[in-house]
């Protein structure tokens, strides 16, 4: 690494530093002027020794260093990678074709470093973005290219690397160093062979090559996404299915399959909106994008229904649109398109003009679905109905009707509605009936309870004319409000699928929704596509053109990508883009150091730091290990004995920590961190309170530990045996411990005991996590030494590192927890102070007695 400066001329200012030193020496600071009334008292006092303007050498050094650092910072220091210095001009060939989007940051950064380097060596540079077609080599200063480079972006365009190398060989007249900043990926048709073209001195490639979508195809209700990795051992990815508003509809992880391929399955059913395109998560480049026009699949439906602007929720259009939204491509335009062949089905809830126009389309395989509302009243003979209808609809519910609204009966077996969900809430109030029974070929697919038709259809050519005998408005039926309606419509429009329609609409296609080279939606300017196989160019970015879902893509060029072979050039140095080759800006560090020195200097000036202290401070900074010496100050701590269960021990430790915090906060006692003690090896006498949780099945302490525990109880610490833990109440083990280890007789702690009032007045309530119960104490001495309970005190006290309580109280909530803490505090004070508080309670009486005696 070499040190270089952006503006090295400024470094001459360093020469002025000694001057600064002399100036400081020559000009003593001006004294403060202060009015002072008692001046006469000062008269005759020693006014001080003559100016001593020789500051200590280290202070001068510090300040000169500070000034030097500031000058250096202004000069813009950088560490640039070591390179063999030569005076040859430099050609930087930047690969900015579309595969470069994945590694564009690396490419740009490396180009910047190369420019810095060249600037330091004062080389002539030519930076050639490969998508441009230069007329000649144009040498310029390295710094002049910075601007060009910062504006450079990868283009949605292919590049021919072998051609570029050949061009260079032909046009490069002087001997020059040629560096290729490649994306690591080339199209298979443009792989260089290393023999032809200019000789490269360095080739940069990314460490990780991009992953691209190879193919997306529809397989029933699934979308199969094939992901190609250009290098072995690629990581698996997440594939996202998005709608045209870029919301993620579903995600799926890829699985490795043969070779470098990965596949993912996206389920298309039950999506909240219509899928628009597939992208690979975190792969920000064009080849990780795949528009879904190629999959076909969903029926394209034209909805003809009047819109009620004021009350959108009352219009049938709203219900039809939502019923179909997830299963079809819905077009809501009022007019039929000129080219009916782009449609699979038409749902009509209003009169259709030029019905004759539709008939050939239906014969060709289209499905015309009429929702029979009021609009049919004057048009019962419409040729688009399966058969002619009676002039008036049949009223099922109304003031004069006996039947009332009718529900759906079964759908016709073997019809398209077979197995349809029949919602009992769908009530039909009005219904159209056929004029003279059924015409030939009319099928009833769904009937009402009285077997009158609700959905009937007639085959025309290879298409269908379908009539739903009721309308979508509330006056006709509640059908649109039920789950049966989407099911019904989705099944009906699917009938139109698979009929012969021309896949590609006529040219030109106007741009609709475009994506930038990183695969992100962007507002780009583009020209309409005028030829069917137009390639992706900067004027034709990837995206949707013409009809809403007509993706224009790289046409499977992903499949043609391959990794750039790097070992084909003799003598070329092959490097990865990585931090090692970056130039490194030292400015922040120099400024930081200067700031630190300034702080030290200010501290010295304010006499916060005297030389001795500076040394101490420096030592503290240099040797952090020393300052982290173990805290050995003798503080009182609570102790606990392991129960044998790690989860219970964790709660016990946390509980004692919580109790210590409460004691520290509320009393004048300061407790240290609770300590785990082992009665067999540690001296228990150091701890005023030792908590021992009991767990069923734990091993009994050995003889030495038992003796130590007996001695502790006999000598006056408090041993709290808690048989209640988060694992339940360990009755038998507690009994065993009491009988075999301690051998004491117990009595309940009564309400008058000092423990009940040593800090708080507990009034007989001794509460743990498991509630208010009896607490037992040994009867051997007036002061309690041993407390036995089944409360799970630690569980109630336990807090986590954020100070939140870990376990909920069994009953009573935080009020009970407060009681538990109060007991704990009382216990600690009792352990430390004994019966002292008992006498305090009588202090009033004692004082009265004294007063009486005094009289």
């Amino acid at each position: 690494m070499n040190l270089s400066f952006a503006s090295s001329g400024l470094l001459w200012a360093l020469m002025a530093l000694p001057l600064l030193y002399w100036l400081v020496r020559l000009m003593p600071p001006k004294p403060k002027v202060i009015d002072f009334p008692a001046l006469r008292i000062l008269m005759g006092l020693n006014t001080g020794t003559p100016p001593q303007m020789t500051p200590p050498w280290w202070l001068v050094l510090l300040r000169v260093l500070l000034a030097a650092l500031i000058i250096i910072a202004f000069a813009g220091p950088r560490l640039v990678p070591q390179s063999t210095p030569n005076s040859q001009p430099l050609v930087i060939l930047v690969d900015n074709a579309w595969p470069a989007a994945a590694s564009w940051q690396d490419i740009q950064r490396s180009a910047n470093t190369l420019l810095d380097e060249a600037a330091a060596q004062k080389k002539q540079v030519w930076l050639w973005p490969i998508t441009e077609n230069p007329q000649q080599v144009s040498w310029r200063e390295a710094s002049a290219w910075q601007e060009t480079l910062s504006r450079l972006q990868p283009q949605q365009q292919s590049a021919d690397l072998p051609l570029a190398l050949k061009w260079l060989q032909k046009n490069l007249t002087t001997k020059a160093e040629v560096v290729l900043l490649s994306s690591g990926v080339v199209e298979r048709l443009a792989v260089p062979d290393g023999k032809e073209g200019v000789k490269l001195s360095r080739v940069y490639t990314p460490q990780i090559l991009p992953q691209v979508i190879g193919h997306v195809e529809r397989d029933g209700d699934n979308l199969k996404v094939k992901v190609l990795s250009l290098q072995p051992e690629a990581a698996t990815l997440t594939v996202e299915l998005r709608d045209l508003e870029h919301r993620v509809l579903s995600r799926s992880g890829t699985e490795k399959s043969a070779g470098n391929q990965q596949t993912a399955n996206l389920v298309l059913t039950g999506l909240p909106a219509q899928p628009g395109y597939v992208v690979l998560q975190h792969q920000n480049h064009i080849a990780a994008w795949w528009g879904l026009s190629h999959i076909g699949g969903q029926p394209r439906v034209q909805v003809l229904a009047a819109e009620q602007n004021e009350f959108p929720l009352l219009s049938s259009r709203y219900y039809i649109k939502n019923a179909l939204a997830s299963a079809a491509q819905v077009n809501l335009q009022r007019e039929l398109p000129d080219d009916l062949s782009t449609l699979d089905a038409i749902v009509a809830d209003q009169l259709v003009v030029e019905p004759e126009r539709l008939l050939p389309w239906v014969e060709n395989g289209g499905v015309f679905i009429a929702l029979a509302g009021d609009w049919l009243r004057e048009h019962t003979e419409l040729p688009l109905l399966p058969s002619a209808l009676r002039p008036q609809p049949r009223l099922l519910s109304g003031p004069l009707q006996l039947e009332g609204a009718m529900t759906l009966k079964q759908a016709k077996a073997s019809g398209p509605l077979e197995g349809m969900s029949l919602d009992p809430a769908a009530l039909i109030s009005q219904q159209w009936l056929p004029q003279n029974g059924w015409a030939d070929g009319v099928e009833t697919w769904l009937a009402l309870q009285d077997d009158t038709p609700l959905v009937s259809a007639r085959r025309v050519g290879s298409g269908w004319l379908v009539l739903v005998h009721t309308g979508a408005e509330a006056a006709w039926s509640t059908l649109p409000l039920t789950g049966s309606f989407p099911d019904l419509l989705q099944r009906l429009v699917k009938l139109g699928q698979g009929h012969e329609v021309t896949e590609v609409p006529p040219l030109p296609w106007a741009p609709q929704q475009l994506f930038d080279v990183y695969g992100k939606p962007a507002a780009l300017s583009a020209t309409p596509i005028t030829e069917a196989d137009a390639a992706v160019t900067p004027t034709h970015p990837i995206g949707f053109y013409g009809a809403p879902l007509q993706a224009h893509m790289l046409d499977g060029k992903q499949k043609l990508l391959t990794a750039l072979p790097t070992n084909i050039w003799d003598g070329a140095e092959v490097l990865h883009y990585s931090g090692q080759n970056q130039s490194y800006d030292l400015l922040p560090w120099v400024l930081l150091l200067a700031l630190l020195l300034l702080i030290v200097d200010t501290a010295i000036r304010l006499e916060l730091l005297r030389p001795g202290r500076v040394m101490v401070l420096l030592a503290a900074i240099m040797l952090p290990g020393i300052t982290q010496a173990e805290d050995v100050s003798p503080t009182t701590s609570l102790g606990w004995i392991s129960s044998g269960s790690s989860s219970v021990d964790g709660i016990t430790a946390a509980g004692l920590w919580g109790l210590s915090q409460a004691v520290n906060a509320r009393t004048s006692i300061t407790l240290g961190n609770p300590v785990r003690v082992d009665p067999a090896s540690d001296s228990l006498g150091l701890y005023p309170v030792v908590v021992w949780p009991m767990v069923e099945g734990a091993t009994l302490p050995d003889a030495k530990a038992a003796a130590s525990l007996r001695a502790y109880v006999a000598s006056g610490g408090i041993l709290l045996i808690d048989s209640g833990t988060s694992l339940g109440v360990a009755k038998q083990h507690t009994q065993r411990v009491l009988n075999t280890v301690l051998g004491v007789s117990l009595a309940p702690v009564d309400a008058e005991h000092t423990l009940q009032r040593s800090f708080y007045l507990l009034s007989g309530q001794i509460v743990g996590r498991l509630g208010n119960q009896n607490l037992w104490r040994d009867t051997a001495a007036p002061l309690a030494r041993l407390l036995v309970g089944a409360h799970d005190f630690s569980g109630a006290w336990a807090i986590n590192e954020r100070g939140e309580y870990q376990l909920p109280m069994l009953a009573g909530g935080e009020v009970e927890r407060e009681k538990a803490l109060r007991f704990g505090i009382n216990m600690v004070l009792y352990a430390l102070l004994g019966d002292y508080k008992k006498d305090q309670l009588h202090v009033d009486t004692l004082l009265k007695l004294f007063e009486e005696n005094a009289k």
Binding site: P28, P29, K30, P31, K32, V33, I34, D35, F36, P37, A38, L39, R40, I41, L42, M43, L45, N46, T47, G48, T49, P50, P51
Partner: protein, 284 residues
């Protein structure tokens, strides 16, 4: 006349009002002279008791009474307090805008004291003779004028004070300690009680200065002094101050008076309470 008095009272300087308010806060019951004692004016009659000198019986009054009575006279103190407030330029000083200047503090102190003493029916006058001893609270304004218009740097004649007077001098005293001492030796007569209230600013009292500093005096004759390291002379300064103070303390003590120190950053009620207690206590 009445209009003039009314306008005068409404134009009482704020300092006077403040002084009145301060005096209100301190009760003067200890000073009440509404009791029998040595004096000339009549106080009350009381029945004669057998142990008393028969000459003390007021026969004329007894003739109207069923039993002989003794005429009691109201207690009167012959003492008069003379106030003097230093009005030299060095008093016009404060180290921070939060504090009063030393001169303001001294005048307020003196006026409050006067107001307090008026309440106790004491006679108060100014030492330079501008205000003759009086016990009328309405004269407070004249005191104020007298203090503000006093000649700077003029130690007054003690001849104005009566022979058993109590003289109270308020000022920064210490810088002129030697002058004051010389003046005292010249003028102080026996029988005059002398008390001092030293008013000083916090910077004078503590002298916490560091780094090269040029001190500029406030009196006309003072020049300035430059110290490179004033922190080095702090101890000497404080020592000198306390030795001057000791001289004045000694003077006050010898004459039967007392020496008070008031620092302008402290509460003025405190020093007033001290003064009140000192003046209220019986003295031989």
């Amino acid at each position: 006349m009445i209009e003039q008095a009314a306008s005068l009272s409404s134009s009482l300087p704020p300092l006077v009002l403040q002084a009145l308010r301060l005096a209100e806060t301190l009760t003067t019951s200890g000073h009440g002279h509404q009791r029998a004692g040595i004096g000339d004016s009549f106080f009350a009659y009381r029945p004669y008791s057998a142990q008393e000198n028969a000459a003390s019986i007021d026969w004329r009054a007894s003739a109207r009474m069923p039993a002989p009575v003794v005429r009691e006279r109201e207690h009167e103190t012959p003492q008069t307090l003379y106030l003097w407030v230093d009005n030299s330029p060095s008093m016009d000083y404060r180290s921070k805008d939060d504090y009063p200047t030393k001169g303001e503090a001294a005048r307020l102190l003196a006026l409050s004291l006067a107001a307090m003493l008026f309440k106790g029916n004491e006679n108060v006058g100014t030492l330079d003779g501008q205000v003759k001893p009086t016990n009328a609270a309405s004269q407070l304004v004249r005191f104020y004028d007298a203090f503000s218009n006093a000649e700077p740097l003029n130690l007054p004649q003690l001849s104005n004070a009566s022979s058993r007077a109590h003289v109270l001098m308020v000022g920064d005293l210490l810088p002129q300690a030697d002058e004051t001492t010389a003046w005292l030796q010249k003028h102080l007569r026996s029988g005059v009680t002398l008390s001092f209230i030293e008013v000083c600013d916090v910077v004078e009292d503590t002298f916490r200065f560091e780094g090269p500093t040029r001190f500029r005096g406030l009196e006309k004759r003072d020049g300035s002094l430059e110290f490179l390291a004033p922190q080095d002379v702090r101890q000497q300064y404080l020592k000198r101050r306390s030795s001057f103070r000791d001289i004045l303390k000694d003077q006050a003590k010898r004459s039967g008076g007392h020496y008070f120190t008031y620092r302008t950053d402290t509460d003025i009620e405190d020093i007033l309470l001290q003064l009140y207690q000192y003046l209220g206590q019986p003295r031989g």
